[in-house]
């Protein structure tokens, strides 16, 4: 019914526009009716160009003010995070400057030089000097950005083995994540999906004969000690997934048949992050939205939404099938002691196997 109504409304709108245009055409019948822009069209559209320029500026300001300081953009929780954020801010500033100037020139010229009958345009076909200038300015700006970007990139991607990072495997499957810790030896045992044995609960395909695998720990939550470098080794058992940890400015695809890696050092514990004023504001705002939504839900006789408490998340960010939109794992950054205490409670691989 609503669809029918929508269609009827659309049809009416279309007819209305058509009629308006017809009336407009008829009113102009005495003048030329050539469907070619005349002075009046040029004037109206010239002013609209200025209006449109204002619109672009307004939408930019509204977006920046309302959504420009989302905590995700400002609060990184990893050691390399601020580097990416700085580069991002520099790039954004350059972009906004160029955007503001070029859009102004484009629309202002469109307004200023709107056509008039009898006017002749300025025959101006070439100017090597001008073109050289606007080739060389982007070259210099980009050279700066490229160099800055490349240094940042290689610093992030080069894993320093001397730091003795904590090695953790992130294991992806449709549609959940597992984490595997190396255990006391901090060495991951060999694994291959061909060794998966669901009857024995060997769900990640660890090599049962590998001594390094015996003390591995498989978990469904990712706990990280604060301040310690972590090296993630990613694996996938079925299709492509992507391990995206937005708060840590970290992302790497998980590719079946191959092991990929990404390393970073978490710097802010979950508890500390919850207490930062920005995050507290954001969470309060989200809970306001959720409370309102809950009211609607309760009115419909459904369950209200739970209160939201901030947690870091690992998100799947590569299309992986039906439940792609709900493939996540909680990340908890905590002190070294808490981390060790948690780890002790977990079963090691050797003991987690079901013996027939």
């Amino acid at each position: 019914m609503t669809a029918l109504l929508t269609i009827i409304v659309l049809v009416f709108i279309t007819i209305a526009i058509w009629q308006m245009v017809k009336i407009f055409d008829l009113a102009n019948a005495n003048n030329e009716n050539s469907q070619i822009a005349n002075d009046k069209d040029n004037r109206v559209n010239g002013y609209l160009m200025l209006g449109f320029l204002a619109f672009i500026y307004v939408i930019t300001i509204v977006c920046v003010v309302k959504w420009g300081d989302l905590p995700l953009l400002s609060n990184s929780a990893s050691e390399h995070g601020p580097q990416i954020d700085n580069l991002m801010i520099i790039s954004l500033v350059i972009i906004f400057i160029v955007q503001t100037i070029t859009q102004f020139l484009l629309h202002y010229f469109a307004f200023k030089y709107k056509g008039e009958k009898g006017k002749k345009a300025f025959f101006y076909a070439d100017n090597d000097k001008l073109e050289f200038i606007w080739t060389i300015i982007p070259v210099i700006t980009l050279a700066g950005l490229i160099i800055y970007g490349l240094f940042t990139w290689s610093e992030i991607m080069n894993v320093n083995e001397d730091d003795d990072p904590l090695v953790i495997e992130l294991y992806a499957q449709q549609f959940n994540w597992k984490a595997r810790y190396g255990g006391a030896d901090n060495t991951l045992g060999k694994a291959n999906v061909r060794l998966i044995d669901l009857d024995k609960a060997n769900i990640l395909g660890l090599d049962e004969s590998d001594p390094n695998a015996q003390d591995d720990i498989i978990t469904t939550e990712l706990h990280l000690p604060v301040g310690k470098p972590v090296l993630f080794k990613m694996r996938s058992q079925d299709v492509l997934h992507s391990a995206y940890m937005p708060h840590f400015r970290a992302q790497m695809n998980c590719v079946p048949g191959m092991i990929t890696q990404f390393g970073f050092t978490p710097t802010v514990t979950t508890a500390e992050m919850r207490q930062t004023p920005e995050m507290a504001d954001k969470v309060a705002n989200i809970n306001r939205i959720r409370t309102e939504k809950s009211k609607e839900l309760v009115a419909k006789g459904e369950e209200p939404l739970e209160r939201y408490e901030f947690d870091y998340v690992l998100i799947c960010n590569k299309i992986c099938g039906k439940s792609h939109y709900n493939m996540q794992m909680k990340i908890i950054v905590e002190s070294q002691e808490d981390y060790e205490a948690w780890l002790k409670e977990q079963k090691i691989f050797k003991n987690s196997l079901v013996q027939n």
Partner: protein, 596 residues
């Protein structure tokens, strides 16, 4: 120099051939009719693609609410009006495929290359009218196969338009990867064949059939753009074909090009030794040049329209040609920027960052040259001109964020978020669509002998322009907040709850913008039959197509083909009474041709 052998006597051409309905309207070998066929088919596919995008947007904005439109259009995929998660991904996939390939490649390039290449270079027709006809009908066939794939029992292809294996290779992983994906691959294989036949024809025609005096440096920029686009197509489409064929092998014949070590639904598959990353390389070796296959024709069209309607020469003709060539060359060595976090060697990431950011230089030159062309012009705001200026605007806005995405370090955190969606929709989707609209408004009189209504054109442009920014500008910000693309609903992440109202705003803009395309469709189809009859050269343009009679005829010109004596941009040249001097007008005594 061109050397056109005008061997046929075309004077009595029209009188002796009695054409039947079939040879004139269906299996036509006339480039003008084929252009119209491409345009109409592309428009129909475009309507399908846009309706899909509106359904996607409604799902994102109001994920829990039953929607009668879903129920009406999706049938069993939306029981009770609630969209199924699989069909959401299918909509995303098919929307992308249709818009990129069927509308903005075939619909845009196919229409205007066919229409304009022979007319603007002064040729009787394409080098091979027969191949041209085959090219269109292969395109039509591939469109039909693609549309049929929407009705497959287990659902259409749903692995994203990039169809990365293993998701696209394993029906166990996703319903759409069964018959739906098979049809997708067959459709694309046919499409590529069509595109290659078309491109080869364009290249040969431009190289061999230019009229006397039409040197390469006198070619209008439209032709340069179509010519270079065809070359990029010939270089890169075969690589996609090979990727598609290898994927078909993996799917149906048990090979392991892209698959290895897979455990799914309780069983280990036999695949060993392949790599999905290899597929990503092959795909993006086409995928990125494809962006320019879509964009360059739009930029070419815009160059022509901006110069004509500014009544000024295009500024920096040589630089414009050089930047087209530079973009074309660079476009083939930047594909890795889609794969910074794919697991390929980080050193390659550095290389691709470097090449990618270089492409900003010729792009910047083009943008500045457009702006300078407007300077001190006498701008005629015909609807085509508005869309061309709109293109420059979205090209700048969308292009600038490419600096962020092309930078591997920054890409880590915005890869596959809505930031990417916003970026490419503005820079290639909206820009190319504007180019297509501009082309339609400008060459409609040439195609159909009638004018489109300008006031409807104005309404169409201004509403579309506002809605395009309203949709895609805020989208950058939800992307920077980390919202991943291709999510059926965001409600499983309370983290993103504060973005839900932005998504509603975006959807409202999208619905308004989408609805107003009806104004265009109406104007287009109404004007074909009832539009005001056109004069021969309504825009007072210099290029050769306007020297041909309004009534279409085989061979384009009665009598001899016009000879060319000057470049295409002698607008408002001092020493002439009119503010335009068509290319076929000989130089006056003492008049110098601009050296370029």
């Amino acid at each position: 120099m061109s050397a056109h052998a005008d061997t046929h006597d075309h004077d009595d051409h029209g009188h002796h051939h009695k054409e039947t309905f079939v040879t004139k309207y269906i299996f036509s070998q006339d480039h003008k009719m084929i252009a119209k066929q491409y345009l109409i088919t592309g428009t129909i596919m475009g309507v399908i693609g846009v309706i899909m995008s509106l359904m996607i947007r409604m799902q994102i904005a109001w994920p829990e609410e039953p929607n009668v439109i879903f129920e009406a259009l999706l049938g069993k995929w939306a029981p009770g009006g609630v969209m199924d998660a699989d069909i959401y991904l299918a909509l995303v996939t098919i929307h992308g495929t249709i818009m990129v390939f069927f509308v903005l490649t075939a619909g845009l390039s196919g229409t205007f290359s066919n229409l304009l290449i022979p007319l603007q270079i002064g040729a009787r027709d394409m080098a091979s009218g027969f191949l041209n006809m085959v090219s269109y009908w292969l395109f039509f066939l591939s469109s039909v196969v693609m549309v049929i794939s929407l009705f497959v029992e287990a659902g259409p292809a749903a692995a994203g338009w990039t169809i990365y294996p293993p998701l696209s290779a394993l029906p166990l992983a996703q319903g759409g990867s069964g018959a739906g994906m098979t049809l997708w691959l067959v459709s694309m294989a046919i499409f590529i064949a069509s595109s290659l036949l078309g491109s080869l024809n364009y290249i040969v025609t431009v190289l061999n059939l230019r009229t006397k005096g039409m040197t390469m440096t006198r070619l209008p920029l439209t032709i340069w753009a179509f010519f270079v686009t065809a070359i990029i197509g010939v270089v890169s489409f075969p690589v996609l074909l090979s990727a598609a064929l290898l994927l078909i092998m993996d799917r149906s014949f048990g090979t392991s090009f892209f698959l290895s070590d897979i455990f799914i639904q309780g069983e280990v598959l036999h695949y060993q030794g392949g790599s999905p990353v290899l597929f990503e390389h092959l795909f993006w070796f086409l995928g990125h040049p494809e962006v320019y296959i879509v964009l360059l024709p739009a930029l070419g069209i815009t160059s022509e329209i901006i110069a004509t309607n500014s009544r000024k020469p295009i500024f920096g003709y040589r630089a414009m040609v050089a930047s087209i060539l530079a973009i074309a060359f660079l476009s083939t060595i930047v594909w890795g920027h889609h794969m910074f976090v794919s697991g390929m060697n980080p050193f390659l990431g550095s290389v691709f960052t470097f090449t990618t950011l270089l492409i900003a230089i010729p792009s910047a030159v083009k943008a500045f040259n457009y702006i300078t062309t407007l300077w001190k012009g006498n701008l005629q705001f015909n609807p085509a001109m508005l869309f061309s200026i709109g293109l420059v605007s979205t090209f700048i806005t969308g292009g600038l964020t490419g600096i962020i995405l092309g930078d591997s370090a920054l890409d880590i955190n915005v890869h596959d978020t809505y930031f990417v969606v916003a970026h490419f929709h503005l820079v290639m989707g909206i820009s190319a669509l504007y180019g297509m609209f501009a082309g339609i408004y400008h060459w409609f009189p040439k195609m159909f002998g009638r004018m489109m209504n300008k006031n409807l054109g104005y309404i169409h442009f201004w509403v579309t322009a506002i809605c395009a920014y309203g949709v895609f500008f805020p989208m950058h910000f939800i992307g920077m907040a980390g919202l991943p693309r291709r999510y059926y609903t965001n409600s499983n992440f309370p983290l993103f709850d504060d973005l839900s109202n932005v998504n509603v705003v975006i959807t409202i803009f999208a619905l308004i913008g989408g609805a107003f395309q009806i104004v265009f469709l109406w104007n287009f189809f109404y004007s074909i039959f009832y539009g005001k009859k056109t004069v021969q050269n309504p825009w007072k343009s210099n290029t050769l197509e306007w020297t041909a009679p309004v009534e279409h005829m085989h061979g384009n010109w009665p009598g001899e083909i016009p000879h060319v004596h000057r470049w295409a941009y002698d607008y408002s040249k001092p020493g002439h009474d009119e503010d335009f001097v068509p290319q076929n007008i000989p130089l006056k005594e003492g008049e110098e041709e601009l050296q370029h």
